[in-house]
Symmetry: C2
């Protein structure tokens, strides 16, 4: 930190801000508005020494002149090169860049340790939900078994609109775009890719093992049908895009993101709109749930500010004991299945027979409609997902099955 | 920290544990079980250098010999003297003692600052719910408007049993005692005093001003009637013991604990059993909710362990900018009112007239039963609590009112 006294007499700390989108702008406002509070708490007077925008500023110069770097520009380059430059100079970095960390964290975290530089990223996961702090600091010595999360606000907004207002996926997406909760190109959100990056980071924190976004199996919400939500309500279930990171009994780690039906009593079932929430399960602390706004300039900037203050306090960075854990080959899940079928006798028994061959047992079943609208809707008990994929393949080939079968995971008490 | 190498070769840090009840015993187990993880993370090998029990150990000697003190004995003395002794020697203290901090914090926090000693107390509020860390660290520069909390597991267990199983207060209390969720003498819990101590600490963290438990107006749950819960369900409300800490428009602070009816959509409404939850409201982060087990040896010991690791990381302690804020004289609340009345014409109009005199307007009203069982049940809009108290006093004096009126606060969107 510089020795030159700031306006209020405290030592000045120069903050270099890379990116001036919604979060960057909100942060610059916060730093000014809360400067006195920050100084009272840390003894340091923050000043923004440089801002890199798309059209202005020299990133390298901003990094070189600052004491602490805030990276809120997103994307891989030039963010990666600038973050590396800062860390190699031993300068603390606070970032909101989940894509960068979930792809390059295996290099960036060791680089930070090597140079004794903090690398903090609360704002990269869950907006204002303080999940990184709680998993990384409070629970750092607590063995975590499983993390479930609604970590993408756009998809939760869309699913809420479908469930509460009966809108189709397309209508709900348009609403989300009009309300500023979805981008013009929503692919990264609705495909589950954004949530996958965040779950990779949460898995890394929870289990101390490197997980790349490429290790995260994910399905989006763009193939969901309003009918599925209506049927789910009959079974008293809510449909959410749920990320799961868990350590299996064999010591392997599974990280995945899929639409999932949750019982209404599950803490994530009632998280609506653009809010995010994460549930941490551990034999030591049972179940802790954190909920809050998953996006928005000011909430996300507040998370950045929390990290910044933590960096200014100069705590030792948690030295995570990195271990290498195998990735799980298969996991067990319960499923909701939907088949459009010809309206003829024997349909249910043949479907049940195929499921039985794969050792999948049925929990409940309903035959809906008739004639051209005949459908078979069922919920299974847990079974290996590989067995379920094989069964669905076989059922698709049966002569009386029309269209694509739909399969959606169902939360099971013993399960993800 | 001592220089003698521990069993694994890291520097040894000596932990003095004051108290060996449920939490103390669980912590001693955790320190042994997680020693390797703690050492990998902090570079320090924890050893328990002394344990003070009711019958064994010399507290002063344990403090003098240890590097870090964990105080989980509860009560004011000898806890206070031993905590003072540790802080004055510059030794970090981790405590779960809400009574001590909510009565003597105005002396203990400055004492800790003066001697540069950490004083951490995550386990004093909300068991495993990481509310102290989030309010004190993550949100330390974020302006908080209001904190709502279910911070007592015993009363939430009892209220859940009354609501879900239709048990009377006495039956539910006995169930809680049988299940180990209530003490033989439950007074501190059911009177709201335990929750009041915790809300005083949360108010202190949220607003940076000293709040004593004596400043916290509180009502318990021991006068609640099963009928009130049944009526509330008709209005689609859930009854919880809710603590509120808020900064009013005039800059004053109000901290209080009362039974409160919550709309089912409120994040605290679905927190059941012995779980605790806290909601933080701020214009910067909208609303963040944290939920988890509110008690239990292992969850509480895990919170202590999180503090201990934070202390071993050697972060600067947050330097709270203490301010002195006036205590609010009066607050506005909406109310549920229940009157047993003679079954005669004109009753409702006279009650409405008294409320009108105090400028209290009625949101909804229902006349229940007839003859000896006639009752008037209503929900009001928000009004100053002083006006409500005056109105209830006047209504009690009306000739047709039998027994004691019952008044329970109702959460109002614009309100506590």
């Amino acid at each position: 930190m510089s020795d030159n006294p700031g306006a209020e007499g405290g030592k000045t700390v120069k903050i270099g801000v890379l990116g001036r989108g919604t979060v960057g702008s909100a942060l610059i406002g916060l730093l000014e508005e809360r400067a006195a509070v920050i100084e009272a708490e840390t003894g340091l007077h923050p000043v923004v020494s440089g801002v890199l925008t798309r059209s202005q500023g020299d990133g390298e110069q901003i990094v070189d002149e600052a004491d602490v770097i805030v990276e809120v520009m997103g994307g891989l380059e030039p963010a990666e090169a600038l973050v590396r430059r800062a860390l190699m100079a031993g300068k603390p970095v606070v970032t909101a860049n989940k894509q960068l960390l979930s792809r390059k964290g295996d290099q960036l975290f060791p680089l930070a340790s090597e140079h004794g530089a903090a690398l903090r990223y609360e704002a990269a996961v869950g907006g204002a939900v303080p999940i990184v702090r709680v998993l990384g600091d409070t629970l750092s010595a607590t063995p975590v078994e499983r993390v479930h999360g609604i970590v993408n606000g756009t998809t939760n907004y869309i699913l809420t609109a479908m469930a509460k207002r009966g809108e189709s996926y397309a209508e709900a997406l348009k609403d989300a775009q009009d309300a500023g909760f979805a981008e013009a190109d929503p692919t990264e959100d609705v495909s589950g890719s954004d949530a996958a990056a965040k779950m990779a980071l949460l898995a890394m924190l929870a289990f101390g093992t490197w997980v790349s976004i490429d290790d995260v199996d994910h399905t989006g919400i763009d193939k969901l049908d309003l009918q599925d939500i209506a049927y789910a309500r009959e079974f008293d279930l809510a449909l959410k895009l749920v990320g799961t990171a868990e350590k299996l009994a064999d010591g392997s780690v599974s990280v995945r993101v899929h639409p999932m039906f949750l019982p209404m009593t599950h803490p994530l079932a009632s998280v609506d709109g653009s809010y995010n929430a994460v549930t941490i399960e551990s034999p030591h602390v049972e179940e802790i749930t954190l909920q809050g706004p998953g996006a928005g300039g000011l909430p996300t900037a507040s998370a950045v500010l929390g990290d910044l203050i933590s960096v200014l306090h100069g705590a030792d960075e948690p030295k995570h004991a990195w271990v290498t854990l195998p990735k799980a080959a298969d996991v067990d899940s319960a499923f909701y299945l939907h088949f459009e079928v010809d309206d003829e006798p024997g349909v249910l028994s043949q479907v049940a027979q195929v499921l039985g061959l794969q050792k999948i047992s049925i929990r409940s079943v309903a035959q809906k409609g008739s004639g051209d609208g005949a459908r078979l809707v069922m919920i299974t008990h847990r079974a290996p997902e590989s067995a379920m994929a094989a069964a669905i393949g076989m059922i698709s080939g049966l002569g009386f099955v029309r269209g694509e079968p739909r399969a959606i995971r169902v939360f099971d008490e013993e399960n993800a």
